[in-house]
């Protein structure tokens, strides 16, 4: 094609950018433009600019008061959704038959917890014993796009505790449901940690009830396990100072 025609063809595509940013293209045109955009940085740059304008458009409408019933319906729907998700994470909840049992990737205990600085040998023993004898029950949650659940392993220091960890892939969230953690000392909180493949723990929030549901944004590609310790409250600690009370690997789908 002559250079002039190529330019014209490109200009024709560029003319679609405004309509594309506004969602006003028909499907066939959209596909053609998207193919072009994949290889054209200057069009992508212009599209970015146009999108910044589109994103501002909702602000020009008049605000309007919806019914009070909408607020009530929304709150009820959110609470119901939370109850459903937590229920699916319970070890005793009715569930589909167990899926194949997947062993947790075997990593030597000492290397795994290296760098955590937890001195107590007892803790290390518990942890390594837990890892070596780890026997996972993997239950496929019902429904597409729902999570994969693993049981929480309690340390001997938290013998009565139990619970489950569910990864919800379409939300990018790990849901931790735990029962009967040992009671907290005064001015302490339970703190959640996300552990990466090198064994490094990252703070992931706190809660103060011994039976609780806690959700945290997580990515199984980097966050390999979740753990709970007791820490001085109300904010917890930047690095764990207490013994692990319970832990589980984060299941990937």
């Amino acid at each position: 094609m002559e250079p002039k025609r190529l330019d014209q063809a490109h200009e024709d595509l560029r003319e679609l950018l405004g309509a594309y940013a506004l969602g006003a293209l028909e499907p066939g045109e959209r596909a053609a433009l998207e193919r072009h955009l994949a290889g054209c940085p200057s069009c992508r740059a212009e599209l970015g600019e146009l999108r910044r304008a589109v994103v501002a458009l909702p602000l020009i409408v008049e605000e309007r008061e919806p019914s009070l019933a909408l607020r009530a319906r929304l709150e009820a729907a959110a609470r119901r959704d939370l109850a459903d998700a937590a229920h699916r994470g319970q070890p005793d909840a009715p569930a589909a038959p167990p899926a194949e049992i997947r062993p947790f990737p075997a990593v030597p205990a000492s290397r795994r917890w290296l760098g955590l600085g937890w001195a107590a040998a007892a803790v290390l023993l518990v942890v390594s014993a837990g890892l070596l004898l780890w026997n996972l029950q993997l239950r496929q949650s019902a429904g597409p796009g729902r999570g994969v659940t693993v049981a929480l392993q309690a340390a001997t220091a938290a013998a009565g505790a139990n619970g489950a960890v569910t990864y919800l892939p379409d939300r990018g969230v790990v849901l931790l449901a735990v029962h009967d953690l040992p009671p907290l000392a005064p001015q302490h909180v339970y703190q959640v940690w996300l552990i990466d493949a090198a064994g490094k723990p990252v703070p992931a929030g706190t809660f103060d009830r011994s039976t609780a549901t806690h959700a945290v944004a997580a990515d199984p590609r980097t966050d390999r396990a979740i753990a709970i310790t007791a820490e001085p409250g109300p904010l917890g600690s930047p690095q764990p100072t207490g013994a692990i009370l319970a832990q589980a690997p984060i299941p990937s789908a």
């Binding site: 560029r14 003319e15 679609l16 950018l17 405004g18 309509a19 940013a21 506004l22 969602g23 006003a24 293209l25 028909e26 600019e49 146009l50 910044r52 304008a53 589109v54 994103v55 501002a56 458009l57 909702p58 602000l59 020009i60 409408v61 008049e62 605000e63 309007r64 008061e65 919806p66 019914s67 909408l70 607020r71 319906r73 929304l74 709150e75 729907a77 959110a78 609470r79 959704d81 939370l82 998700a85 919800l168 379409d170 939300r171 990018g172 969230v173 849901l175 929030g205 549901t213 806690h214 959700a215 945290v216 944004a217 997580a218």
Partner: protein, 186 residues
């Protein structure tokens, strides 16, 4: 600028699946969301459905929001509301009866409190920038964005050639983007 640190904190609460955080976000932006849905749908009942669906999507997907994006939580929420409203409009059409008269007397936001002042300032800025566009550019943009029309449908409705419509959209958005560029992102 929309109160960004507060919005980010609310979103974190939603990621932690705290219903109170979702309801705080609703209290902050529910009227704007409903206004947007209503403008597109013309029917209060269906508009409420769009708003509820949008907030439930935020409830479920808060963990996937990327804070490093240029625009904030408010823009993300309103984009979701917009998509839901356009989707519902394509399915149900738009009500065109008594509700259009209601629109002329739409309820305004609650009186300003300090926290809301900043948000109203940038709303005023965007409104001024859109109002400053040539009428036909403003019209093309609004028909596409709020009424969900394709450029072909807009050409038919306005009687202008298709190429002209595309040009108006692109030029109008570019002008708008320039006008908004000197200042915080909406």
């Amino acid at each position: 600028m929309a109160s960004e640190p507060d919005d980010a904190a609310l979103l974190q609460g939603i990621v932690r699946q705290e219903p109170a955080a979702l309801m705080a976000l609703y209290d902050r932006y529910g009227r704007l969301a409903f206004g947007l849905a209503y403008r597109t749908l013309g029917d209060a009942g269906i508009a409420e459905e769009a708003v509820q669906d949008a907030f439930m999507l935020v409830w479920r997907r808060a963990g996937t929001f990327d804070p490093s994006r240029g625009s904030g939580v408010r823009a993300w929420l309103l984009t979701i509301v917009h998509h839901k409203a356009i989707d519902l409009r394509r399915r149900h059409g738009r009500a065109t009866t008594m509700d259009d008269i209601d629109q002329a007397e739409s309820v305004l936001a609650a009186p300003d409190v300090w926290q809301a002042v900043g948000q109203h300032l940038d709303r005023d800025r965007v409104r001024a920038a859109v109002a400053a566009l040539p009428n036909e550019q403003q019209q093309a943009i609004e028909l596409a964005y709020f009424d969900g029309l394709s450029h072909r449908e807009i050409a038919e409705r306005t009687g202008a050639p298709l190429g002209t419509i595309k040009g108006r959209m692109r030029l109008g958005l570019r002008k708008l983007a320039e006008a908004l560029a000197d200042g915080p992102a909406p």
